[in-house]
């Protein structure tokens, strides 16, 4: 009977190995998804029981947790004077409505459960210190953020500023905004009421327009991409392009006009650089027709269109139409029809040109520090695939300098600093005023900041608005703040 006993012993070992496998599956492999499950109240209990790490901008903690004497243990607070300014970045932390923004995307670091904090947790365990979440230091420059917030005034819109050499996000402003403190309270009824009011607001204050609101038609700022495609396909800055007063769109009865119905040049032709400088619609529509939709899409994608991006929040993908016919291609080439972008995407276009044609991965989190201030995670600038050649980038830079010095973007000029930029005035519908755009970088020869500004529906100027008049001054203020 010893042989079957030994076999039975093997069977017992196999049974236990299966149990160990199943346990490992539950506690290790499946654990993250089980912990993230909405029905798992332990995650909430544990989070409220621990001090959540602060979110830091510059030297200032803009979101902190303080001990309170209620069942939740800790109260999340956002610095009152800056709470709405940073709301699109921090997001909110609510006992009723979970989280958003950095609070959501850096949640495991802030609550201390991230894998990267393993050794910190171990240390707390050994030293018996009260465990605390990590602090998250953002790349935001408070002066730039404040300048963007002030410059945008009461207008609806968004501003994004990047460091073109690293991809660090220096400012991310979206207006109108909200006070996340009203959602962080522990009084369920008050929080629910505030939430309902914010959700019902037609101005959508909780949308982060900079990265994840409704995407916008880029208007003439898209001509940078069309020009890039042209330069990459044999054009030069001084190549003569046709620039008629009106362009009869192929296969349709539509006629494309220039802004205000004016002629771009007396001769009906001009250089590519001049066409960008005065933002000549007919010239770029014709270039788009000549290059074709595929070349435009390819160039747009090289700048980051149709590519998933997290900063760490998820960024809505910018999109170039999938299969436009000829007239739609002509309209797409000037940023109309169904081209849709986020302000961050347009800031990336400027930043890429500023960085010699190489886009940098945008990021919002500079460092993650454990309780004892040890750096557990530090952002490393990451190059993305080259979008245009160095020569193309240089040519585009010179053309953008022309826009600011002697074209549609003159109101972005800063004494003593060479700014390179591009305006945009995007038609949305017959009734609504156009969106005003401006994207730029400076200083042109050694760029330190790239910026994109959108003011929805012309802002305070309404139908009279142009990118140059409404958006460029905001960009100028942001650039000045960044270069100080």
């Amino acid at each position: 009977m010893n042989t079957p006993l030994r076999r039975l012993a093997t069977v017992v070992v196999v049974m236990f190995v299966a149990l160990m496998g199943a346990t490992t599956w539950v506690q290790f492999v499946q654990a993250p998804s089980l912990n993230a499950d909405q029905r798992n109240v332990r995650t909430l209990y544990r989070e409220y029981g621990n001090a959540r790490g602060p979110i830091v901008v510059g030297e200032q903690a803009i979101a902190t947790s303080t001990k309170v004497d209620d069942p939740f243990g800790y109260q999340r607070q956002y610095l009152p004077e800056t709470a709405p300014i940073y709301a699109p970045v921090t997001g909110y932390y609510s006992v009723v409505y979970q989280r958003s923004g950095i609070e959501e995307w850096m949640n495991t670091e802030l609550n201390g459960s991230a894998d990267s904090l393993f050794y910190a947790r171990l240390e707390d365990l050994v030293t018996g210190k009260q465990p605390q979440g990590a602090s998250v230091q953002l790349t935001i420059d408070p002066a730039v953020q404040q300048a963007a917030w002030d410059a945008l005034g009461d207008q609806r819109g968004a501003v994004v500023a990047l460091d073109p050499t690293t991809g660090a996000i220096l400012a991310m402003v979206s207006k109108p905004s909200y006070d996340p403190n009203v959602l962080a309270g522990h009084d369920f009824a008050a929080v629910t009421e505030a939430w309902t009011a914010l959700q019902a607001d037609p101005n959508k204050p909780m949308d982060n327009r900079a990265i994840a609101g409704n995407t916008y038609p880029p208007g003439s700022t898209f001509k940078l991409i069309t020009a890039a495609a042209a330069l990459e396909n044999g054009y030069a800055a001084d190549t003569a392009v046709t620039a008629p007063r009106e362009l009869q769109l192929p296969q349709s009865s539509s006629v494309l006009h220039n802004f205000g119905g004016s002629a771009c040049s007396g001769t009906g032709a001009m250089t590519l650089a001049d066409a960008l400088r005065i933002s000549c619609n007919t010239a770029f529509a014709q270039i788009g027709l000549d290059l074709g939709a595929d070349a435009l899409r390819e160039q747009a994608q090289a700048f980051g269109f149709d590519t998933p991006l997290n900063v760490p929040m998820k960024v809505t993908e910018s999109h170039f139409p999938d299969d436009p016919d000829a007239p739609q291609t002509a309209l797409s080439a000037i940023g109309q029809y169904e081209v849709r972008v986020t302000p961050l995407q347009m800031a990336m276009v400027s930043a890429t040109i500023a960085n010699g044609g190489v886009p940098m991965q945008p990021y919002l989190v500079q460092t993650v520090r454990s309780q004892d201030l040890t750096v557990v995670d530090e952002a490393e600038p990451t190059e993305l695939d080259r979008a245009v050649s160095g020569a193309t980038a240089a040519a585009l830079r010179d053309m953008m300098i022309g826009v600011v010095n002697d074209g549609t973007g003159r109101s972005a000029q800063i004494p003593g600093i060479q700014v390179a930029g591009k305006t945009g005035t995007a038609q949305t519908s017959e009734e609504a005023a156009p969106h005003a755009w401006f994207t730029a970088f400076a200083p042109a020869d050694a760029p330190r900041v790239a910026v994109a500004v959108i003011v929805e529906n012309g802002g305070s100027m309404g139908n009279e608005a142009t990118g140059g008049a409404v958006a460029a001054p905001i960009a100028r203020a942001v650039i000045q703040a960044a270069l100080q």
């Binding site: 009977m1 010893n2 042989t3 079957p4 006993l5 030994r6 039975l8 012993a9 017992v12 070992v13 049974m15 236990f16 299966a18 149990l19 160990m20 199943a22 346990t23 490992t24 599956w25 539950v26 506690q27 290790f28 499946q30 654990a31 993250p32 089980l34 912990n35 499950d37 029905r39 798992n40 109240v41 332990r42 995650t43 209990y45 544990r46 365990l125």
Partner: protein
């Protein structure tokens, strides 16, 4: 002819004492940690508690020195460690229930049951001088086993709790007779199979390369199957049903060495269970919960939803690799955290690491039991020890497998760890019987009286042994 060097057999009692100290340290340390984590200081009764636990464990150790000096030195420490950790965890869950003003007091009762169980285990070792005596009661055991299994169905004493009719109430005490039935049923199977094994092993028709038994020998397995299925259907207890049938098939295989019996048994049970799942909604619901536990529909269904199972999974997941630490999780969020779901509670607070360590402890326990079965000389002892070691391992498999969703969840409790008097009592008696059998397995055979041709070899076969190669195996396997 093999020449055998005399094997030096060490009783291993000092080793046992050393391991026992480690086991007690674990149990008492866990108890102290619970206090430290929840109240910031060691529990007030820590001195009395540790003194009691130490007295009981050392008492067992002394009884072994006295009555079973050659008993396996690992079994007792393993069991004491499991029992001690279980007590600490139950105490911890009590505290959580207290904080939520739910009924607690499980730890005190479990402590009383631990004392009763250990004393009874000692009594078993003292009274039962030779396990072969039990063979005389083969058919008495059958009757006792059937009575115990059927008792919960009896009108006056039987009680239905949470849908399963597996309890009896006698006066103030409530018992799960099936736990005790494990032991008597194992006695019956061992006694019955050791006499009929040759008949059952006889070859029948061959089918697909498999040597099938003779049709006329299918009677006993069909009977065991019917009893198991009636437990499943009438008492609504998948766990007990699975446990008895698993025990029977396992022992049948040990007796006959025929894989075909295992396959027939597994086929019968799976078929029967599948049929029952279709015919009876309470069985079907168990399968549904198993397969679709995380679906919102299943989760929110009441009664019979997967809330408890998923709650356990959530608890284990939140424990992660290293656990929250004793007293720092929320095991009390799962219903029956102290009994059916103590594995999830331990997984939450001790983490994957702690749970794997506990599983290894069980594996060691089961393997020492099987090792005992290999070492013991008589067929009855082999079957009995093998069956009991297997039933402990199998019960772990059914419980942990159920909690981790490896197999459908059943109502069984984890041996030694979980709250429950009947279970604790039965498993301590199993431990005592294994210790008793291991004593005779490891005890040097009396010096030969001439049967072996005058070779004065320790470990030579005593008269009446059923297999010559087996008797030479004393402490180490020589095969």
């Amino acid at each position: 002819m093999a020449t055998v060097a005399p094997l030096q057999v060490r009783p291993g009692r000092s080793l046992e004492l050393g391991l026992l100290i480690i086991a007690l340290t674990l149990g008492v340390g866990a108890y102290a940690l619970v206090g430290l984590a929840t109240a910031g200081s060691v529990p007030a009764d820590i001195v009395g508690y540790s003194a009691g636990l130490i007295a009981l464990a050392v008492g067992m150790h002394v009884v072994l020195r006295w009555r079973a000096p050659y008993a396996d030195p690992v079994i007792l420490p393993a069991v004491v460690a499991l029992n001690g950790i279980g007590l600490a965890m139950i105490y911890r869950i009590d505290l959580a229930y207290e904080a939520r003003e739910k009924a607690g007091g499980f730890a005190e009762r479990q402590l009383v049951w631990t004392a009763i169980s250990m004393v009874l285990a000692a009594v078993v070792i003292v009274i039962l001088r030779d396990h072969r005596t039990l063979r005389r009661y083969t058919y008495t055991a059958m009757v006792a086993g059937l009575v115990l299994i059927v008792a919960p169905l009896a009108p006056v004493i039987g009680r239905e709790i949470n849908g399963a009719r597996i309890w009896i109430h006698v006066g103030p005490a409530s018992l799960q007779p099936a736990e005790l039935a494990k032991i008597v049923v194992a006695v019956f199977f061992a006694g019955y199979l050791v006499t009929t094994r040759d008949t059952l092993a006889l070859a029948g028709p061959r089918f697909l390369g498999l040597q099938l038994p003779r049709i006329r020998d299918l009677g006993p397995i069909l009977l065991a199957w019917l009893v198991s299925l009636s437990v499943l259907v009438l008492q609504r207890d998948l766990g007990t049903s699975l446990l008895f049938f698993g025990l029977f098939v396992g022992m049948l295989y040990l007796a006959t060495e025929r894989i075909s019996w295992v396959l027939i048994g597994a086929g019968l049970f799976v078929g029967g269970a599948a049929l029952a799942a279709r015919l009876f909604s309470h069985v079907g619901a168990r399968f549904d919960v198993w397969l679709t536990a995380l679906d919102a529909d299943t989760y929110h269904r009441a009664p019979g939803g997967s809330g408890q199972l998923v709650g356990g999974l959530f608890g284990m997941a939140s424990g992660g690799l290293f656990g929250t630490g004793l007293g720092q999780g929320r095991p009390d969020l799962v219903p029956y955290a102290e009994s059916d779901f103590i594995v999830a509670s331990l997984g939450e607070e001790l983490g994957l690491t702690g749970l794997l360590a506990l599983l290894v402890l069980y594996l060691v326990l089961a393997q020492r039991g099987l090792r005992t079965a290999i070492g013991v000389r008589d067929g009855f002892g082999k079957l009995f020890a093998g069956g009991m070691a297997f039933v402990v391992a199998f019960q772990c498999f059914v419980v942990v497998g159920g909690v981790t969703r490896l197999i459908p969840l059943t109502g069984l409790t984890m041996p030694f760890l979980a709250y429950g008097g009947s279970s604790l009592l039965a498993n301590w008696i199993i431990a005592a019987l294994l210790l008793r059998i291991s004593d005779s397995a490891r005890r040097p055979a009396p010096v030969s009286d001439g049967d072996t041709g005058g070779l004065p070899v320790r470990g030579a076969p005593p008269a009446g042994s059923d297999n010559e190669t087996e008797v030479l195996i004393l402490d180490e396997d020589i095969r």
